[in-house]
Symmetry: C2
Subunit: 306 residues, 2 copies
């Protein structure tokens, strides 16, 4: 299962009643954080999740509301006795930004690995899951992320028999191994598995105008978390100028991409009551929901639901 928690849902500046936008996810003993503004570590503590398993932190971009909490989080990870490396992922410039911020967090008991994104689409392999990064459209280079868990097909006895695979190899092949026999025959896992089953996908994108690649990744997403900075149509011009997204635009994308769920986030500090706009938004996307600090969801493989 993929556990998800929207740590905060605000943009620009943290407020007493609204943390800055950040997503934390847990899968198979590994934790993922996307964006880390001022106060994100407090939100994680409030959720009750542990810092220590955070293996990767992805940054959409380097505006302060998305990274200002990093030095404190890195120190707190150290205090949690982490010694394994942590991977930081973000647009070009990552090393410079993080090194500068570490002027107040110079001594850490674990190494930091960096992955600077430069392509339109990149895949970060994390073992049992992977993260897809895709460039969006803000006033600085900015990426969206998809946290993905693939699911192999069922074991297919008939298929294994058709390929005349000795039974002693079945279990290893089912786990994904490729086997070379002493006789020089190669067996691959697809020879014993049926078609891949539906996996899990959570997509997070903020600080962007609507963009082609958002549609692509939001497609069929189990959860699509998307910026909805303003609700009031009068703010459209401002949103376009500063390359932010309206709630209505996020709703259109979610609906067209046939995402299963939409959570809006990154509300402007001027948007005190996002609730006012929900009814209108649901006319565009009936499954739209408002993000809230701490809003959580557990995604399970389909058969596990029953």
């Amino acid at each position: 299962m993929l556990e998800l928690c929207l740590i905060g849902c605000g943009g620009m500046m943290p407020l007493p009643y609204r943390r800055l936008t950040s997503l934390m996810a847990r899968y198979n003993g590994s934790s993922i954080l996307i964006d880390c503004g001022e106060g994100t570590q407090i939100g994680i503590k409030q959720k009750g999740w542990s810092f220590k398993p955070i293996d990767v932190i992805c940054f959409t971009h380097y505006h302060a509301d998305h990274i200002s909490g990093l030095p404190g989080l890195l120190l707190t990870l150290g205090n949690a006795d982490r010694t394994e490396p942590i991977l930081l992922v973000g647009p070009k410039g990552l090393v410079h930004v993080v090194d500068s911020l570490r002027v107040i967090a110079p001594d850490l008991p674990y190494p930091i690995l960096f992955r600077e994104l430069e392509e339109q689409e990149e895949r970060i392999d994390m073992g049992s899951y992977y993260i897809e990064a895709f460039r969006v459209n803000h006033n600085v280079t900015c990426y969206g992320y998809a946290i993905c868990v693939d699911r192999a097909g069922r074991f297919d006895v008939d298929r294994a028999k058709t390929h005349e695979i000795p039974m002693k190899y079945w279990s290893r092949l089912q786990k994904g191994e490729t086997i070379e026999t002493p006789e020089g025959i190669t067996y691959t896992s697809d020879m014993v598995l049926g078609p891949a089953r539906k996996g899990l996908k959570c997509v997070y994108t903020t600080d962007t105008r609507p963009a082609k690649f958002i549609y692509k990744y939001a497609s069929q997403a189990d959860l699509f978390i998307c910026e909805g900075m303003y609700g009031n149509p009068e703010k459209k011009e401002k949103a376009m100028l500063n390359r932010h997204m309206m709630m209505s635009e996020a709703a259109k994308i979610a609906n067209k991409a046939q995402a299963k769920r939409l959570w809006l986030t990154h509300y402007s500090p001027s948007l005190a009551y996002p609730e006012e706009y929900l009814e209108g938004i649901r006319k565009i996307c009936p499954f739209a929901e408002l993000g809230k600090d701490g809003k959580s969801l557990t995604l399970r493989f389909e058969e596990e639901d029953s």
Copy 2:
């Protein structure tokens, strides 16, 4: 009147129920901030005080829990349309630390002035009030601060007459001016004023072992805010090793220095219930109080109290 608010009272890391230690003060239209960890700006917002009049931010030292909130606060000050310069004060290294942190806050609509402290004691003149900085004893260079408002003596008619000062100069002399007459005579304000009256003083010191200069500045302070990182006597060794102060040590200083009020602050995250130690602390210093997030006090000149 000097308005004081302890924005937070925690050390090391911000917690959902305890912000990092920081003091905000307001006097005569000017606001002063001492220390600015992650979340300080949220505490200011919660208190309901405006960011815009913050003229000076003093840093005790550059451990992250005392400065990690600076980039966000600087941006928020910009969003509050501040255009006047802001003065940053702290130990040597200030310019380097702030410039590094500003990698995520490069564009501000106001200039930043720096005052790097190098002496054991320094005075920062702020017009109608002043700040005294005094070096304390931590594992890095660290300063305590006293926010001081002086109060001149009463106008003394007899004194003015004794000095044969023409009445037309009285009012200007009372306001503190020095006057040179066309006849070449110099009149100073002390010629018309009685002895200086008691002013206002709030002293703030944290991340330090007890030190001589803390006694000096805490002497007769209207409010002495002092680190009390641990209550449990078993933590004494740890406190000495990392150069922090025990609650009992703060209480001894406050009592000996005859401060009028003591607020403890900078509690360790391990100190979940500072209340447990209050009874014991009050045996050392009967007027000791526990700092709490948002704890506030207004200091007034003595006669205004009645």
